[in-house]
Symmetry: C2
Subunit: 345 residues, 2 copies
């Protein structure tokens, strides 16, 4: 197996990327790496080149580049070349900690969509109080979503949760403003109908934003706009909470003692709320595994993201999505009868 | 001034409602109260009837009633009669801690919309880390919103923030998935254009969900679906946080000591994150002040909600909205030129 890595993306590139790749190469003897980026800078950190091939390029996509334009113009950017290696069959998956929008555009334009999936979706794994986590998609802030897109997101999340997260019969839920079937806006009402009537995955109905961290589902489906709002609300609230906690804990002698007692627990609590602990965000719907590592990834996070990519290749996540989409299980019963589709799961 | 109160709405009705009204009647000598509900049950708690008139009715709207149907069928419900008193000019404002959807329907069907406001909006005041708070609307989970609705929401929130929250030149922001002008879905992009070009209030641009608790704006405008998602995400994250904190604090002897040191601060922290501390949610866009008190309101919360209603009447919030809408300040420059509107603020 070969994994293509953009060495130049993220806040700590190329150092932490290179260190993470070396760690993964030492651990996973079945994986070879193609490392794209500035050879001189990469070699500063690349102490061991075993199963690691460096492909030099001067160009890179910046975090503030306009995604689509950058991908179209910077054809030699490290991120674009990594995706091109996948497209050309030289690598099985690619990862980057760089510009999220650009990676989505690269996946879409360079690697290409899976037939039958209308819109790719970005899917991080988010925390629950139980520590189990759940896959949420789309968080790519795609502009306008249609009900069919949400139907397809459910399938992709379900395959991933089952194959990589090893959850049997993952519970797939629709994010909505109430749990009743009749709740929601036009998009969620119509998506509910489609999801209820398919046979490709285990749809468990609506969930509310208030409950998503309480382990109510393994996969939660929403449009990119709403998903972005919810994710940032969670981040913002957690941030506000920690800043208030900190103010409290430094306020007076007794509190400082309490703080010293609680330091370890608070650090654990912060880690529990930090979704980067659960690995990178997968770009589902393209023809190979593409994973976005967190922009602030250190070597350990890059290592986890590589393991995630390796799992996706080994467990044939993309192939399973392709097969499921082709099988017609996403269609409602009557549609399938008309089309003579099969229905065993 | 007269305020109509639904004595039968909320988890603690009628007891806490009656106690709250008595407290307000004792404090505000300029206010009289019309209290609608079951006379026998109300009189159990109504020790002092000074400036309080009880109007008996057997009917009430339940928390799980389907809002629109309930309002149309239960014409003698305490909530509906309270609104009817406002419509008939017998009261200046009404409040209820009951079914939110039903109160919105009551406001709309019984009291009626302000001319030029296409859609009413429900607006609670939400917490910031600074303790200042901000008005957010719409959180009524109205189905589909149009850009013009968001434009109007901005005006109503701004008038309220200025008159009742005493904030000079309130900063009105649009909730979006990025701060740049070009970000968002079709709705937010078009709303941004309208808000940028009006002269009725101080539009400061987009804010992200991540930052809303950091005192970035005094009024934050969004559609009801997104608003509901964000509010519930905040609630859910705060809830998850407190449950994890509690688990930590009861985990081992040292932590229990720390917990005892921090008890007061944690209670304060919880209060800071609890938006019911900031009063009830206003239903803007109807022809009189209508306020939804939190369903779990105690007497103190009811008292606060009454003070809020009194402020809205005294400061002529509704009248100001009516005047502003009629003035044409919401229109863009060129529209106004065509219509010959005035433009001084």
């Amino acid at each position: 197996m070969k994994i293509a890595v953009d060495a130049m993306g993220g806040d700590n590139a190329p150092k932490e990327i290179v260190l993470g790749v070396m760690k993964a190469a030492a651990q996973y003897k079945d994986v070879e790496f193609l490392l794209f980026g500035d050879e001189v800078k990469i070699n500063e950190y690349l102490a061991d080149k075993t199963r690691i091939q460096v492909i030099h390029t001067d160009e890179k996509i910046e975090s503030d580049d306009e995604p689509v334009r950058a991908v179209k113009r910077k054809k030699k950017a490290s991120m674009v070349l990594a995706a091109q290696a996948v497209k050309d069959g030289e690598a099985d998956a690619c990862i980057s900690a760089g510009n999220t929008g650009a990676l989505m555009a690269t996946g879409l334009f360079v690697i290409g969509r899976i037939k039958g999936i209308d819109r790719p979706a970005l899917a991080p794994t988010l925390p629950t109080v139980t520590g189990k986590g759940f896959v949420m998609l789309d968080l790519g802030a795609n502009s306008e979503a249609k009900p069919e897109h949400l139907l397809q997101f459910g399938l992709m999340g379900s395959v991933y949760a089952e194959k990589v997260r090893k959850i049997e019969r993952p519970r797939v839920a629709l994010l909505n403003i109430g749990t009743e079937e009749t709740k929601g806006n036009d998009l969620t009402k119509r998506a509910f109908e489609l999801m209820k009537n398919q046979e490709a995955y285990n749809f468990v109905g609506n969930v509310e934003a208030r409950d998503i961290m309480m382990d109510v589902a393994d996969v939660i489906v929403t449009d990119g706009f709403t998903g972005n709002m919810v994710l940032k609300s969670i981040e913002g609230t957690a941030g506000a909470f920690f800043s208030l906690m900190k103010m409290s804990l430094l306020n007076g002698f007794k509190n400082k003692i309490a703080a010293s007692f609680l330091k370890k627990d608070l650090t654990e609590l912060k880690a529990k709320m930090d979704y980067s602990e659960y690995g990178g965000a997968c770009l589902f719907g393209v023809q190979a595994p593409v994973i976005k590592a967190h922009g602030s990834s250190n070597a350990r996070a890059i290592f986890s993201t590589i393991r995630q990519a390796r799992d996706m290749v080994q467990k044939q996540v993309v192939e399973t999505i392709v097969t499921e989409v082709a099988s017609g299980h996403l269609k409602a019963e009557q549609d399938k009868a008309n089309q003579g589709g099969t229905k065993d799961e």
